[in-house]
Symmetry: C2
Subunit: 340 residues, 2 copies
């Protein structure tokens, strides 16, 4: 005659344990001032009923949800995917859930919608994992009382960021080529509107300028292996004298190497190639790729650190300078001494 047993609620536990529902709440929230004996009774009752607390109700009552929202652009890409993965684990360890909203097109309006949805969910903090210029504007428009962190974010006022030092990484990569004796060094840039693409371009330019070498126009690229391949063809055609290339990410680097190989150009014998990212398979490509390693796991963790700190602090926060995770050049076999 009975319905299927509904999920037990606090009141049920309270009744079974012979206490008030508030006492159950106290046990759940580790309040001091609960007698050990009472706590045991409540715990036993919870176990017997298979009680699970309703986090929705909790969130409503506390006006705080212990959920971190993530706004991401393309979680398929190596960097965002890796960051998201470690971020989720770090968040869980800190007691937070993670809710992800991806933004298919990097238009400000789409970002704004994403923020709205997250706010409607009463998230207690937001991570912006969209390293585009368009995302920067959005952060400026974030509700002032909502803690936020940007990954690789530009200088949005009031929003702290966690970044891998892109300029420095590009400097390391380019200097490496210079030290090997290369003097004609090209660059394949990442997608327009991406901050990382600009920073890597910057680093490359700085290194060349510091060494007194010529700065060519960067070859266009969109992060994809295909665009790297196209850039490779273009390179041969336009600047056959180039012997070193700093490519803005590993996927494009691999496309570039393939184009060069097809054209009969030996890497690293005739042309040296450096990538960026250090994707998992970089060490197993032909040739093994020299590249700049980025510790995305660390980035994810630091994001949570910063965000949790902001959530904890009730007063107005100061902006502070970005948390910088260093990049590290990994020398493998795609670079060698300049041919003479």
């Amino acid at each position: 005659m009975d319905e299927r047993p509904a999920r037990p609620v606090m009141a049920d536990v309270a009744q079974l344990a012979g206490v008030s529902h508030q006492t159950v709440s106290r046990v759940l929230n580790d309040h001091p001032y609960v007698k050990e004996e009472t706590r045991a009774k409540v715990l036993a009752a919870m176990a017997e009923l298979g009680y699970r607390r309703n986090l929705t109700a909790r969130a409503l009552a506390r006006r705080q949800s212990d959920t971190i929202g993530v706004i991401a652009f393309d979680t398929t890409l190596h960097g965002p995917a890796s960051t998201l993965f470690s971020l989720e684990q770090a968040a869980r360890a800190a007691g937070y859930e993670v809710q992800v909203v991806t933004v298919p097109d990097p238009h400000p309006q789409a970002f704004a919608d994403a923020v709205d949805r997250l706010v409607a969910q009463s998230v207690c903090g937001v991570v912006v994992l969209a390293p585009q210029r368009a995302a920067v504007q959005v952060m400026a428009g974030l509700p002032a009382d909502l803690p936020a962190v940007a990954v690789e974010g530009g200088a949005a006022p009031g929003v702290p960021s966690v970044v891998v030092d892109q300029v420095d990484g590009a400097l390391q990569a380019t200097r490496h080529l210079i030290e090997l004796g290369h003097t004609e060094i090209a660059h394949v840039r990442g997608r327009q509107d991406w901050l990382e693409a600009e920073a890597r371009l910057d680093g490359w330019q700085q290194a060349l300028t510091a060494a007194g070498l010529a700065v060519r126009d960067p070859l266009p690229g969109d992060w994809s292996a295909r665009s790297g391949y196209d850039a490779g063809l273009l390179l041969r055609d336009r600047w056959p004298e180039v012997t070193g290339v700093f490519v803005a990410n590993d996927h494009m680097a691999l496309g570039m190497i393939r184009a060069l190989a097809e054209a009969g150009v030996d890497v690293p014998g005739q042309v040296s190639v450096v990538g960026f990212d250090d994707i998992a398979e970089a060490g197993y490509l032909r040739p093994p790729l020299t590249t700049v390693h980025q510790d995305f796991a660390e980035v994810g963790r630091r994001c949570v650190d910063v965000l949790v700190e902001r959530i904890g602090a009730s007063e107005r926060w100061s902006t502070g300078c970005p948390v910088v995770v260093p990049g590290r050049l990994v020398v493998r076999a795609s670079t060698g001494p300049a041919p003479r």
Copy 2:
């Protein structure tokens, strides 16, 4: 003297519009029986106050949250990452939020914890994106009234699944080698405990058996490029007569090719290699990789379809057979006729 303006709630909108809060609710939920004029007034009031509905309160009142939970193992891997990405977009289009929980170790207990957390959040459905044997047990233990879908899931009773036809894909790959005249064909398997690894092994065996060819022990692998490289070394050492290899994923295939190249073995001249996954850069490796394409975007979309249907249906669902997304062999340059 005033505090910073608190976020407006329904009552505020109602007051400004001169109606009851229930009418505001009706407008928000597209109820019939709201006069056009009233609707306009309410909408105007909402716009003026910048009202955002509180989804937490809504979820509590409706006892339903419009959130889909995803339990994933490693969202860094190509397949899960791609599936998750399209799933999130499809879910949003269907009016759902997505909450992700990753499980660092594939132990049943860890999966069970993940389910608990999702249930506590009152998610209205769950996608299990963890293609391991350990995850199958967990699905059997899912609350009976919680709609669920498994991706690449085994035969958990009552839980529908969306799969790419792995066995068929492996058959296509292996047959391709056979048709090219190869008779000594090895296999590098994926990580133990993964259902996909088993299915691909199966397909390989079936194809060989059907053709009357010898079935060797599969070489061990764990999906990583490194393990593919190791398998390549092992292969040369153990079975120098092998001329065709079906490798369970592209990353291992690329490691294998590198190992062979180092040993002076030409691909595809002396040994043909087929991968599985069709990662974005597969066409730009050296040589371009013949592989089996999986349409993960479609998998994500179908997951949402199935889940939404289950959520809508109030009565007990029948299990039905899995939704099968076909795999497709993409022939590139890493395979060629068997040498004689």
